[in-house]
Symmetry: C2
Subunit: 331 residues, 2 copies
DNA sequence: TTGTACGCGTTATCAC
DNA sequence: GTGATAACGCGTACAA
């Protein structure tokens, strides 16, 4: 709670001198420095980041914002760790918010962070044409998109090759002899979903298999929607023999739905999910997935953000990471 | 980016008037109000939370801090959601940090948050005698502890009856006919761990069963330690027939360890975990757990914090919630 | 080498 | 009803 004023008074110097000592400016004689440092210690001085931020130009808050759609989704939790580990290594604090796939909440946190004068933002936009995020970018806030991209605004971006991931998943299912393959996708306004869907469609086409609308269903990335849709698909006259599921939570839900429908995995139906899970190995059966390097996504995003904070005018960069098919026992 | 100054200039009034319009002070004639509101809109004015915080006394930041040990642990993620949902409902922003069960990181974030003048803090202390947290409390920052408590400082606290939870788990195992029960506990400096251990020990005593040191092993709350310890226990001359595991992650690890040791669950060894998991149902086998109402813990903690911010001198309160045994197929 | 003084964007207390 | 103006705590240009 002690301010520069109080420290200065105790050390019998001006606040400028105290400030100089704090900022390692060497224009202070060792003797006064010692006095000041003593006063600093005695009073347990802690600089106010608020006052500093008000005084300084943007870019010196040592604070960045991270807005993620669902903190309870291990994929985003891992990205968050990647961002946070990197930020911590650079002595940056991260203000993490959870938007709950809710545009109103996203907007609220976006407002808060700008009003807090954070140095920059890392986030997966709610949709490809997320006006609130676009506005932030255009108003000059350094923004790095992760996972999902924006359609009409270019920013730094760290993404995964979702198309390639989907093709790998499909190739694996073909190899296992499947032709009638169901798709449980997520929200269609999201770039990752579009790419995964494209991978699914083009893989079928390349294999000369007709794309059937009734085998393609959209969920909302949540566990429950995966469960419900899996059951719907199994209720079809000719149900699919395999499922490609658009994210991790829906894949777990699908497993539950299949069990409730009395289907065995992989005996009756094979399942491939997108995004790995820390406990995928412990599931019944262990889940085959397209693994994304989530921690690395977060790490690189934070690295990019730091560069942009340092050099705001540099050209936006896109980093595309490679996903990896992890075959377990659900296929 | 527009400041009061600029808005005032455009509306040809003083900044005081603009401020009055913003703060709904009714001492402004409708005509000027309209002019000011137009200027506000035209410039897209956004108040600076930083400047406001510098000017106002503490308690008006509309920002609270939340420091959790592991964002990748679903138990803490759920607490975070409880805190965040409640905060959002009251238009508070949450600054969420991940301490990684690392006291240095916890201290860093504690410093940052105090320097940011947050209105208050929610956290599970690293240990019962966490000096950094105690210092924050003593320096007057409103603090609500969740899950874990402090030994020598009293704060608002929302916890779960860990002792009762452990007794319930043990009673269930006795019912199933187990007598030789292993314990995989967490770090011993943590209050929750102490209570769970006490439940384990007293349950055995009440049953007239000797407490055997070699059946009690300490992990670090992480998955890997559960796996390793489960294997160690199975390597004993007389291995336990059941395991009581001190948290969710270690329980999943234990399942993996048992499989690697060639034991069937619950055939050869029964397992009860502490803390539920969103996918506990989908595990092999579905895991029996002592479920904690984590979202409710977070909700009540935030509620308590809001009360304390409003009335800093009110007497600290302890809320103790009841855990619930959820029997699935691992026992 | 050190001190004085200004401004960052607010809110609040005075005058008018 | 409205307008100056003083803080809040800090960094820094400028003066001494």
């Amino acid at each position: 709670m002690a301010s520069l004023q109080e420290v200065a008074a105790r050390a019998r110097v001006s606040i400028a001198t105290v400030s100089r000592v704090l900022n390692k400016s060497d224009k202070v004689v060792p003797e006064t420095r010692a006095t000041v440092e003593a006063a600093l210690r005695d009073l347990g001085y802690r600089p106010s980041r608020v006052a500093r931020r008000l005084r300084m130009n943007t870019g010196h808050a040592h604070l960045v914002g991270l807005i993620i759609p669902d903190i309870q989704n291990p994929f985003y939790a891992e990205i968050a760790r990647g961002v946070e580990d990197t930020a911590y290594a650079h002595h940056y604090a991260v203000m993490l918010c959870n938007s709950d796939e809710n545009p109103a909440k996203e907007r609220f946190y976006l407002d808060v962070m700008q009003a807090e004068s954070v140095d920059g933002l890392v986030l997966p936009p709610f949709s490809e044409d997320d006006a609130a995020v676009a506005a932030a970018v255009n108003s000059g806030v350094p923004v790095v998109c992760v996972d999902r991209s924006l359609a009409h605004v270019t920013t730094d971006l760290v993404e995964v090759d979702n198309y390639a991931g989907a093709r790998a998943a499909m190739a694996h299912l073909f190899e296992r002899g499947h032709e009638r393959i169901g798709l449980i996708e997520g929200r269609s306004q999201v770039s990752t979903n579009r790419e995964r869907r494209r991978g699914y469609v083009e893989a079928l086409a390349a294999q000369g298999i007709a794309v059937r609308k009734e085998l393609m269903r959209a969920g909302d990335f949540r566990q429950e929607s995966g469960r419900v849709i899996a059951q719907e698909l199994m209720a079809l006259k000719r149900p699919p023999t395999a499922l490609f599921v658009g994210n991790n939570l829906m894949a777990v839900g699908a497993l539950a739905g299949l069990r409730q429908a009395g289907r065995r995995v992989p005996g009756d139906v094979a399942v491939v999910g997108f995004d790995d899970l820390p406990w995928a190995e412990a599931l019944d059966p262990p889940l085959t997935v397209v693994r994304q390097p989530a921690h690395e996504v977060g790490r690189q995003a934070m690295e990019l953000l730091l560069k942009r904070i340092e050099e705001p005018e540099r050209a936006p960069v896109t980093v595309r990471l490679r996903p990896e098919l992890v075959v377990r026992q659900s296929t």
